[in-house]
């Protein structure tokens, strides 16, 4: 069905009515009878021994229900938080996984580390009591940058992690790369910093633990992107409750960008404390807490070298990265700067030899984990800044240099030297489409016009690639993942023909309730208003793996298609009986079952009704029309594209104006173009934010987060962006039944390199992110002085 509500239609988002009219039900909108309120006392120091904690006065404060410290959790046998991806260092040793207690026991390791949990009848009483807790700290000297943490004599963040080194990991053929460099005509080398970001989801993290002493069940309401994974970890590893006595509900969730994948201390403590006090307890982060305690993103220091022949053909790439993990390992932290990063260093190019070495290090900062793109933005940023710089070094147009090195459209499947097999794509087409969108032919005239006004104009490219549709379970298992990354779906017809789809994916802004419904409308002929998508409650939906890595449609949508196949298969049997034909003669299309070669037909609704009121029904068939399927992908998907940024710089002030933006992306088949475009807009906005504005800065001496509020941490705003020119070129993905690749992270992956390449093109000198106005002004001054 190519209808107004089927595949390919820009259906308006079904969920927006409740979001836009204030009817969304976010975590803080939920209150349980008898609920108490919890507040975390957090460390004011970046690194300190806790000599003593005195809660006596606080315990006597009005309204206080209980006060817990790390010792109480330990006494109850509650384990620490875990990291679920094992990385093996090049010497064969497993990564170092120091203890990560939900509440600090004897040492605090970053500003904001949990020190005590105060529960009271009201939030104000809990806050008042928290101020009465006396903590005697012995301050230690902190270390905040990854490079500093590796220096000899650096403060030791964990006693059991010598040199602060979590792992020293490598990927690729070092000897082949050395040989490529030995044979190179040109080598381009750069030091590149990928700045640390705070996720800044609109809804802060929150949790309610609710214990029923009658059933012994704990219900945990939490802001999660993957409630079943949270249940599994809290049950199997932390020991909160057995899985069948722990229900995790993630209701409407206001943004995540990765930061709500992880299983944090706060929800762990709420779930545990609810049983201790036999009362529901709610915690909601204030924005200041979000800055200090949400897992941050990026923070890579990289040195990269690209070897080329005399014609600019890439021969080899050598990358050394120091990845700052923060004070503890967050849930998937180890995978981000390793397998989600170095495996994408081939980019869109035929570079035959690649070697990456990554040192992951502990520092006295908030933990770092996946943030929109997770490793892949860092890879694209390294590759695309290197390629642009190489073009400048060689005096070749950056467009031409890329085209000389692109993987050809007929070369798929294409195996890279860093263990990925790209399945499809057309990189030159994306480049050409983007060049047309930006009017590349007119660029020289626009640059001249800018210069006539004393402005500097620049243009920058980013031909990005990502690995999405995460991920084949066997593949990730062999690389160290502690879980499989399949997805589940259940398609349940109601007797009157409406459908509820239960998905293990989770929507926290992506529009699943619309996109997934379009699949049912397209394939089963059910009007879109009669399709309901249910997600986010382990008590309702089959075990699922959740939403991250642009996987929901490619993996979760494919699971829905598998369940749809089962519905059709069963429907054929019912239809055959109703029409007194043989099953082999039944044809199905768009919710109509026909007897081949006749005009006899029944609708899906009639078949569903017959399945629930089986008065006239096949004798050997189960009643009901309710099918569950699990889908495990066979490969990653490889969305790719080219983004082009055009900027104008005021050299007098350093102000950068992003004057134009073109994006040509290949996402495979597109289900809802409007939602895809929205995802591009959001991703590009975050990428521009990273390149121009956002920066999490810790004071190098005190370890205090200097950018701990919106007074100092610059979020991008609407007036920072031009109107984006977005097109998609869709080579269908051969690896999944929908032919889709995923679009959620692409903008954030592509944008930073495009923008920095444009800015450095305008300036004629390389600078690091973020390109703050002072940094740009200084660079412009330097260039001008050199010219004089």
């Amino acid at each position: 069905m190519s209808s107004e509500t089927g595949i390919g239609a820009s259906v308006r988002r079904k969920e927006d009515k409740r979001f836009l009219t204030g009817k969304g039900r976010y975590l803080d909108d939920i209150n349980r009878p008898g609920q108490a309120y919890g507040v975390f006392l957090r460390s004011p120091h970046a690194f300190a021994k806790i000599k003593s904690i005195d809660t006596a006065e606080a315990g006597k404060a009005p309204g206080v229900v209980a006060i817990y410290t790390g010792a109480d959790l330990a006494a109850d046998g509650i384990g620490g938080l875990i990291c679920g991806w094992a990385i093996t260092s090049k010497d064969g040793e497993p990564h170092k996984a120091p203890a990560h207690p939900a509440i600090a026991v004897d040492t605090v390791r970053h500003v904001g580390d949990q020190v005590a949990f105060v529960i009271a009848d009201s939030l104000a009483e809990a806050k008042d009591a928290a101020e009465l807790i006396e903590v005697d700290y012995e301050e230690l000297t902190p270390v905040v940058s990854g490079a500093d943490a590796l220096a000899s004599g650096a403060p030791q963040v964990h006693d059991d992690v010598p040199g602060n080194l979590c792992y020293d990991w490598e990927l690729g053929d070092q000897a082949a790369v050395d040989a490529a460099f030995a044979a190179a005509a040109h080598v381009t080398k750069m030091d590149i910093y990928n700045n640390r970001l705070v996720p800044n989801a609109m809804e802060p993290r929150a949790a309610i633990g609710d214990f029923d002493s009658g059933t012994d069940e704990i219900v945990l309401y939490t802001t999660s992107q993957n409630p079943h994974v949270a249940r599994l970890v809290l049950s199997a590893f932390v020991g909160i409750a057995p899985e069948h006595k722990l229900r995790v509900i993630a209701p409407d969730v206001g943004g995540g960008f990765g930061s709500k994948i992880f299983i944090y201390a706060e929800e762990t403590v709420c779930a545990w404390a609810a049983r201790k006090i036999d009362r529901p307890v709610k915690w909601t982060a204030e924005r200041s807490e979000s800055f200090l305690s949400d897992a941050h993103g990026r923070d890579h220091h990289t040195t990269a070298e690209l070897a080329m022949d005399a014609n600019g053909k890439f021969l080899g790439l050598r990358v050394n990265t120091v990845a700052n993990m923060g004070a503890y390992l967050s849930t998937f932290a180890t995978s981000v700067p390793s397998y989600l990063y170095a495996t994408l260093l081939a980019g869109q190019y035929t570079t035959p030899a690649i070697y990456a070495n990554v040192k992951a290090v502990f520092t006295n900062t908030a933990p770092v984990d996946a943030y929109r793109g997770a490793g892949r933005p860092e890879a694209t940023y390294v590759v695309e800044r290197m390629v642009e710089r190489a073009a400048r070094d060689l005096g070749i147009s950056p467009v031409e240099l890329r085209k000389r090195n692109f993987i050809a459209p007929d070369a798929y499947p294409y195996e890279t030297p860093v263990i990925m097999t790209y399945d499809s794509g057309n990189y030159p087409l994306n480049m050409d489409t983007a060049l047309k969108l930006i009017d590349y032919d007119g660029y020289a005239a626009r640059k001249a016009e800018s210069e006539s006004r004393g402005k500097k104009r620049g243009i920058g490219f980013s031909s990005f690639i990502e690995a999405c549709g995460i991920a084949p379970s066997a593949a990730v298992g062999s690389l160290g993942a502690g879980v499989g990354l399949w997805e589940s779906a259940q398609v349940r017809f109601n007797p009157t023909g409406g459908v509820t789809v239960f998905t293990g994916s989770h929507s926290h802004g992506q529009g699943h309730e619309t996109t997934f419904a379009q699949l049912i409308t397209e394939h089963l002929g059910v009007p879109i208003e009669n399709v309901e998508i249910s997600h986010g409650d382990t008590g309702k939906v089959p075990f699922g793996m959740g939403t991250y890595g642009s996987r929901s449609l490619a993996v979760g949508g494919s699971a829905i298609m598998r369940a749809v196949d089962k519905i059709v298969e069963k429907g054929k049997k019912v239809a055959a009986h109703l029409m007194e034909a043989s099953v082999e003669d039944i044809e199905h299309a768009n919710g109509v079952f026909k007897v081949a070669g006749t005009d006899k037909q029944v609708t899906m609704a009639e078949v569903a009704f017959a399945a629930y009121v089986p008065h006239n029904y096949p004798p050997d068939l189960e009643p009901g029309m309710d099918e569950t399927a699990f889908y495990d992908p066979t490969n990653f998907t490889f969305p790719a594209g080219t983004h082009i940024a055009e900027v104008e710089i005021d050299p007098e002030t350093g102000v950068v104006e992003v004057v134009d933006w073109a994006a040509s992306d290949d996402f495979g088949n597109v289900i809802n173009p409007m939602i895809v475009e929205g995802q591009i807009h959001g991703g590009v906005a975050q990428g521009i934010g990273q390149a121009l504005l956002e920066n999490a800065v810790y004071d190098s001496e005190t370890g205090q987060l200097l950018t701990g509020s919106y007074m100092d941490y610059t979020m991008p705003r609407a007036d920072d962006f031009p109107s984006l020119k977005v097109e998609t070129t869709n080579t269908p993905c051969p690896g999944n039944p929908l032919g889709v690749k995923g679009c959620g992270e692409a903008g954030a992956i592509a944008a930073p390199a495009a923008l920095m390449n444009a800015i450095t093109d305008a300036l004629g000198v390389e600078i690091d992110m973020p390109a703050t106005r002072e940094k740009v002004w200084r660079a412009a001054q330097t260039v001008q002085q050199a010219a004089e």
């Binding site: 002030t653 504005l693 800065v697 200097l706 919106y710 100092d712 610059t714 002072e774």
Partner: protein, 263 residues
């Protein structure tokens, strides 16, 4: 937020009577309330000036624009009387914070709070305004005394500010991209008593750039400022801008303000 006693007096005299050492006056609350919510401020009493009749009046009388203490930034920005007499003042008000701040924040709150990066102090000093309180008048040159410090006594309430209408004036701000406060804001006014140049955001308090004033008195044009810079020694130096960059921006913004003022 800690507990406090809330008062809503009906007159300035009543408000003055309620003041004590730990009390805070509440006008628009755009600086006070966030610090209270973060538990950084703990006033015993909050005295809300919002119920005092006439305290938000805006009037233009010949050569003077008078704005009541509780007039919001939005009302000043939207006042055709202000825009007709001192367009630079209406323009400045229209660029403070964001829409929500402008709808609630007040001139009295901004001027009395004397945030070193606030916009209004630049207009008060740049135009040589007069600050009126319940007990006296204070010349702008005597009003701002330091970081968040003014000449106001503890039991004194700012009631209105009167601005002499200049021959020409303009305010140009280089806003902090995060907070949108001024990293540097320069107010230039050509008055019957000479040119005044007031700089906010750059130092611990709003200040006059006397070297620039002298140059502009001789020749009211942007080129008169070529080679004239404020010293960077005492300027703010932080995450967002070094003192050197701020000093440079003062010159750039001053030139742009002169141009905007027709020089």
């Amino acid at each position: 937020m800690y507990d406090f006693n809330y008062h809503r007096p009906g007159s300035v005299d009543e408000a003055v009577g309620l003041i004590n050492e730990d009390a805070k006056l509440l006008a628009g609350g755009q600086s006070l309330l966030p610090t209270m919510k973060l538990r950084l401020a703990q006033p015993s009493d909050v005295i809300d000036l919002g119920g005092i009749p006439g305290l938000s009046d805006i009037s233009v009388d010949g050569s003077t624009v008078t704005i009541g203490a509780t007039a919001t930034h939005a009302s000043v920005a939207a006042s055709s009387a202000v825009a007709g007499a001192i367009p630079a003042l209406a323009d400045l008000a229209s660029g403070i914070g964001d829409t929500q701040v402008r709808n609630v924040g007040t001139i009295g709150g901004s001027v009395a709070n004397a945030d070193p990066a606030a916009d209004y102090p630049a207009a008060v000093l740049g135009l040589g305004a007069t600050v009126h309180t319940n007990s006296r008048t204070i010349a702008a040159d005597d009003f701002f005394t330091g970081i968040f410090e003014t000449a106001l006594a503890e039991n004194e309430i700012l009631t209105k500010v009167s601005f002499p209408v200049p021959e020409a004036a303009a305010y140009v701000k280089f806003a902090n991209p995060a907070s949108r406060y001024a990293i540097v804001g320069v107010f230039v006014a050509k008055t019957s008593d000479g040119v005044r140049v007031a700089v906010t955001g750059a130092g611990g308090s709003v200040f006059r750039a006397s070297g620039m004033e002298a140059a502009l008195n001789a020749n009211f044009s942007a080129s008169a400022l070529d080679g004239i810079a404020v010293a960077s020694d005492d300027l703010n130096n932080d995450l967002h801008a070094s003192a050197e960059y701020r000093a440079h921006l003062v010159s750039v913004m001053a030139k742009r303000a002169v141009q905007a003022a027709g020089g």
